[in-house]
Subunit: 224 residues, 6 copies
């Protein structure tokens, strides 16, 4: 059975792809699926605006179409879920977005979820998406740390801000679970959870977990 998951990082920053790849370790077991992570060369260094998100859709869908013959399921590893619904038209294989899967998984871990975003400009985009998903009643809040994607690699500045925002979401906004609102934050999950003392969802891991399930089950996408 074809069981390769292709995780596509739609930004061109290899460090992010590497961090995602490291986060895949728990899924790489004997007999388990092959999980490949690729950088979308045509992407911007970071998807930080709606324009960035929209601009990657075409090359992303091309990459998905190209890889479809040898891929069982796709994961779009950007918290804007860029091109998710176009991609589902581009292939009959399951395509999952990390925002969608990260948030849905969070709903099984706590009542109200908080999202830690990179920049203030990301928040309205997330709010539109969460509303479109129909799960806004469960949202505690979405707050930015004020760092761009390429700055996330610097743990000295990033982790502290994530903990600060996470604790504000917990204490002032009533979050019971946190979702990291950027694939580039993957490496900080355990430390953030230790500090915040509430569950923390790394969304690419959440999406790949669901993708593996879909491969096993052989369920396709809605094609009507």
């Amino acid at each position: 059975m074809l069981d390769r998951v292709l995780v596509i990082n739609p930004n061109s920053t290899d460090g992010v792809t590497q961090a995602i790849d490291d986060a895949m370790t728990p899924f790489r077991i004997p007999g388990g699926p092959r999980i490949d992570c690729m950088t979308l060369r045509e992407g911007p260094p970071g998807v930080e605006s709606q324009s960035d998100a929209d601009a990657v859709i075409a090359p992303l869908c091309r990459a998905i179409r190209d890889a479809a013959p040898e891929t069982a399921a796709f994961v779009i590893a950007c918290f804007s879920d860029p091109g998710l619904f176009s991609a589902r038209e581009a292939t009959a294989r399951p395509v999952l977005g990390i925002a969608e899967c990260g948030i849905l998984t969070a709903l099984t871990l706590g009542h109200r979820f908080g999202v830690i975003s990179i920049l203030a400009g990301s928040v309205p985009r997330h709010l539109r998406y969460i509303a479109a998903m129909g799960v806004g009643q469960r949202l505690a809040g979405d707050l930015p740390i004020g760092l761009g994607v390429t700055e996330l690699g610097d743990a000295s500045s990033t982790l502290g801000r994530m903990i600060d925002v996470g604790c504000r979401l917990r204490d002032q906004h009533g979050a019971h679970v946190l979702v990291m609102g950027c694939a580039g934050m993957a490496r900080y999950r355990a430390e953030l959870e230790d500090a915040a003392q509430i569950p923390v969802v790394e969304p690419t891991q959440a999406a790949v977990a669901m993708a593996i399930g879909r491969i096993r089950l052989g369920w396709g996408q809605c094609l009507r």
Copy 2:
């Protein structure tokens, strides 16, 4: 690593447990987790009322507490998700409910989901739960087939009704994906999907897929 998933059928009908067990086949692969299905002896033949659902909580939590040392994750295989939040207090292991996971998975397969229930009396219970989950905006409808749990084994009467209700949910209520609202319907997934021509979620499979992911990731439950 401990990687056994224990799927507990809270009703005492072995035929249902057997059907669930058959549905687990796709997850049983070399290197994959061990998936055991058990019948809750103390349960009623079918969980068809709120009283039935509430009555199984105590024995269910006992079974979970007893099995926790050798179990990595639990799935409560009844669409009322009986005792889900009590069970999460009873163990630090992940506990997932099939209604919650079936519905969340459906949200990745189509915009509006329809639920096929067993009896009319189940519908308000589902509606309360879907509202508590905060995903009611995505609900197309929840319609019963008018058969009890123990009658589901008879394919001659069951499948036709499921297809009829599924098509009504699709055509009159605007459902883009269907969720089978009882673990005892597991065996009819493929045929129903063929007939309705929209994705059909078998909720125990959806829950076990998410449970396996949780085991791999080692994420616990909200314990605050």
Copy 3:
């Protein structure tokens, strides 16, 4: 006409039952219904977790079934409304929950209601219930005072915290009316209202008022 209301305190703390009983004074008038308050012996000292709430359902329903021949309406006097829907299956008499009636009554007293809970762990349970009721749009917030049920009897520590939380709900969360989120808080209603200067609902009183109305009208429960 049978016109006894039985108010069941599902925890085993007699002090709480006594406080509830005191709160019934306004309803005890010549020609008025008989109002009896009982302690559920099998209950825990306080219903503080989902497990506590679920564990009292069986003895509670037994008590209701036993008392049904000489009782016109039942009130479950715990803000988790444990077993409310099971109890409605157990008897054709009206059964009302204090959370449901306290919240519905609050909706007639102010636009946004705030809930004062005992412990932080109660909040998600309340949020699930308020969402299930479909009235979450009216919720200003739900904040805990950090005291368990058996500690509520100590006015020196309790009242001050209730006032503090009540004022925060009013000033920071925009509450126009407060609901006391535990039957054991009954005795503090007047003092809290004086301090907060917005209406305060004591939920057992709200539920008994509605129960008396139901007895007069002879309306049964939804039995379909």
Copy 4:
């Protein structure tokens, strides 16, 4: 203790007031409150439009102000709840609306409520109000019988239409409880419930029940 409830029928049709008065019988018991029903002379024969509803506010508030010294609580007996929030500014006594109380009471009797309206033009007014109340998630539907207020006295044409609409709300819209959407329908409650086999709320009765409770408890209105 002052314990008179004044029920004001804001339309000028004495037959409606008489029907309301008859519906008060269950509340008139020795030791119970005095319940007076009055016709608002300045009202139109029926409140059938928004203009009708708005036009009665001034005389209604005058009547309330005039009667306040000898009245403990007021009920506005028109399903548009005309002037409810103005009336609450006009007096410190509790003022309850029959739409609000009828709907809130219905929420304790079934999950989804259906409203039986008089004319099609009433429906958007009800929908605005139900949305303002924040309980729209529980609404199954609101359908008109196509008769004006003054035509409701003719049982031969009215009851059959009410049963027809009630059954459509139950079967096609999923209502578990019905609310009669006009005070002038009061006399048909029992027959409608017998025919529809789901609970039916007569809203003036629901409101008076809550008003009596409020008098007993001495709770005022939100005055901030």
Copy 5:
């Protein structure tokens, strides 16, 4: 073509009408519609309570009926939208409310809108209306400046408070756009926007813009 817009200030404070009239300047161009602003003589100095709002409905509708022959569209220039739905029954001409149009326009300028109100007592009235409009999911918050209508003319006290409240809505409540919650605030739009650095909607301008569109298009009101 008849293309006069009549903007009615339902309070009797000429200073407010004058401020509104000044705000109409951008719409007064050669070939453009005639825009007249009138003071409702029968109105109170400011519409600050529900009673105030309800009391102006009758004279407002009379004024509308009187002016209909020579008016193409009406704007009710009070943020409570008093009598909006009655007025729509009083004339077949378009009638727009400034709260409705101000809020709908804000939805095109930012994701979450904040409302700056005059008095704390206005807030629940606004919340009911925003909920009735069905756009509460987009509301960030509604906060008062604590000044009555007739005090708004004093820039020294008003503007500072508006900026303070606007910045709190932006920073603590997450507003992306502000709506000025009183016609009497019209003159402060530009200064407030400069200070808050997010778009600010002056609602009478928003309403007149939509009214002019409706005149051009010749679309009537819902008359069913």
Copy 6:
């Protein structure tokens, strides 16, 4: 003052642009703004899928950037509002989408709006967008006529289907106002309204009306 509105039809079908241009007639008055309609050459014949919608974003934003120096406001004339939020990043000029403006305008014309779509596949895309807008509570339904964009020019097949779907939205789904869910339907507005006897919104007209208002007022876009 620069007062040109540029209406961009993102599909390449000149007949649609022509129909839009004809619909602009009411706005073309002496002293009024210049309204130009352009066909996006790079677009597909019709925007019928998410892929179509996403694919036009890049050329659409280029066209907007190119035209910005001589354009005061832009309207994206496709009911999927493709690229609306990217376009708002591409220029400081106001950019309005016809779906957003058509729906918001409908909210001033009736309580529940129905959308007439071209193809069944458009419906989930619309539902996501309406939910993202936060106005789903006002949606009566969204039904397709089963014709593609390029088929809309044939009045013999199109108008009848639109009337049929419009009447179903009105009678079975409770719509009080209809929104035409494709720019290519513009020419049928008056006939549809005559047939359905409820207001019909042509969304490009609604958007241009709002765009003209924005030009007059000089309000920019949210740029934070």
